[in-house]
Symmetry: C2
Subunit: 265 residues, 2 copies
DNA sequence: TGCATTTTCTGAACATGTTCAACAAACGCC
DNA sequence: GGCGTTTGTTGAACATGTTCAGAAAATGCA
């Protein structure tokens, strides 16, 4: 995980003079739309570039899961993809970028799993949370390796970063819908969904190092927490609850923790 | 931060065969009491060994603060201490060990700062929390570099690890005393102190990346949180509060998060 | 003092993440 | 087809964390 490995401040400074503090893009370049996809071809005919990237990514993730992140070298990945080391770095500027690419690629799958749950709010929220944990399970070692960056708002990988805003928004959409269905007012939905998101983040922190079978311990904690919290949600729509909620939101806001906004509607 | 840098599984396996999963000690050896200190010399006459270690540690921390952890190389540290690279590794088996040594060395200072605050529970808790954050401030970059390990219960550096149990205990003693002085029952003290410890951990997560002047944002969040929580503490000693507390403790317990026990008395 | 043992130190060596200058292939345009 | 430009690739080189075999120094003991 050794960052750029600055030999001395000099070279680091030089580099910083050229680039902004943190490179905005985690991929070397965004695909320059060599093949401008026409409206009639929804499948944009994967370019050689895309194929190479996908191959790299596939092998990398396979190796990550198989041997762990730290034990997988960039040379391994390049070799497994039939490329030279430099070529791998041409497509992914760092090992971290490969992890992030996974992160992004799997987000959709990761989120849609629990869409179909039925029942009361408690059941549907439980299904959502458990599904998310389960979908992350195979990669938790990988996540553990980068978890420090997840809380660095300046890091593109961070769960708090601007880069991940969209991801946050999606992650919160389903709980928000469930809460609205449960009859909560819009304001309460906003706070409660945010709180659940925080709970999810906390659970993730535990989960990446949860070695109990299937991560049972974390799953149980999630259940316990939901059992504790969900019955109290209606309180949010009482005068006391409203006051409390307002103060919590204000406090988090001042702290720079802007809860993801639930989708409109 | 590159861990052992396993060339291939083979060598890693060999090493594991010799050592336990994680080396229990973060320092190469514990001082073999070459000079058995007699009762009459409370200052055990620092050995050359200790002097060298202290010199290494001093220079390392100075460099860490000056250039940041990642930009400081083991070669820099060794040179600054007038030693060869190998000698540095003889005394501290890894760069992480140097960080941990700081962590331990400063713990006492870090904790005694707020002992003397007076006033109500809210004021005394505030003094404690703010002092802790302030004392960590100069090293927050360093902490950011190892924060991922703070949540790994298997890592000796972890705030959750067995190694740090004593530290946890001490960290919770003062809040517990304050709460007891405020008239809370023993059970409530236990839960509330644990909750405050969790709040402290959460604040730390934010703090290490808080670039606002003096970490003002995190300080404000702590104040807001205390303003929110402290007035509610008496509720813990109502029937409703007792029930809630019992369920929370049980849930955390099942999750393997054992709140640090407050000192007896 | 002389010698064996233990502690401390040294510098080379290794594996790794990352960079870079140079080269090759593909493309766009004439 | 021919040619300049962009895109993709290569392998060497670099700085780093860590290990290791052995040298040097300190220590203990006869």
């Amino acid at each position: 995980m050794t960052r750029p490995a600055s030999p001395r401040a000099r070279r680091k400074a030089e580099r910083k003079a050229r680039k902004p503090e943190r490179p905005a893009a985690l991929e070397s370049r965004t695909t320059p739309s060599r093949t401008t996809p026409s409206r009639t071809t929804p499948e944009p005919a994967e370019t050689k570039r895309d194929a190479t990237r996908r191959r790299l990514l596939d092998r990398a993730l396979a190796l990550f899961q198989q041997r762990g992140v730290e034990a997988t070298t960039m040379r391994d990945i390049a070799r497994a993809a039939g490329l030279s080391l430099g070529a791998a770095y041409y497509h992914f500027p760092s090992k971290d970028a490969l992890m992030f690419a996974y992160y992004e690629a799997n987000q959709a799958e990761l989120e849609s799993a629990a869409e179909r749950a039925t029942g009361g709010a408690r059941e549907r929220l439980g299904a959502d949370f458990h599904a998310k944990l389960d979908s992350v399970r195979p990669y938790r070692r990988m996540l553990a390796a980068i978890i420090g960056r997840l809380i660095d708002p300046g890091d593109p990988l961070s769960a708090l970063s601007a880069h991940q805003r969209a991801v946050r928004g999606r992650a919160i959409a389903l709980p928000a819908r469930i809460l609205r269905d449960a009859g909560l007012s819009t304001d309460s939905v906003r706070l409660a969904a945010g709180a659940l998101w925080l709970l999810e983040m906390a659970a993730l922190l535990l989960y990446v190092h949860d070695e109990s079978p299937g991560g049972a311990r974390t799953h149980r904690l999630v259940d316990d927490a939901l059992d504790l919290v969900v019955p109290m949600l209606p309180v949010l729509d009482t005068p006391f609850g409203r006051d409390l909620a307002a103060r919590v939101v204000a406090a988090l806001d001042r702290a720079g923790i802007s809860l993801p906004a639930p989708p409109p509607g």
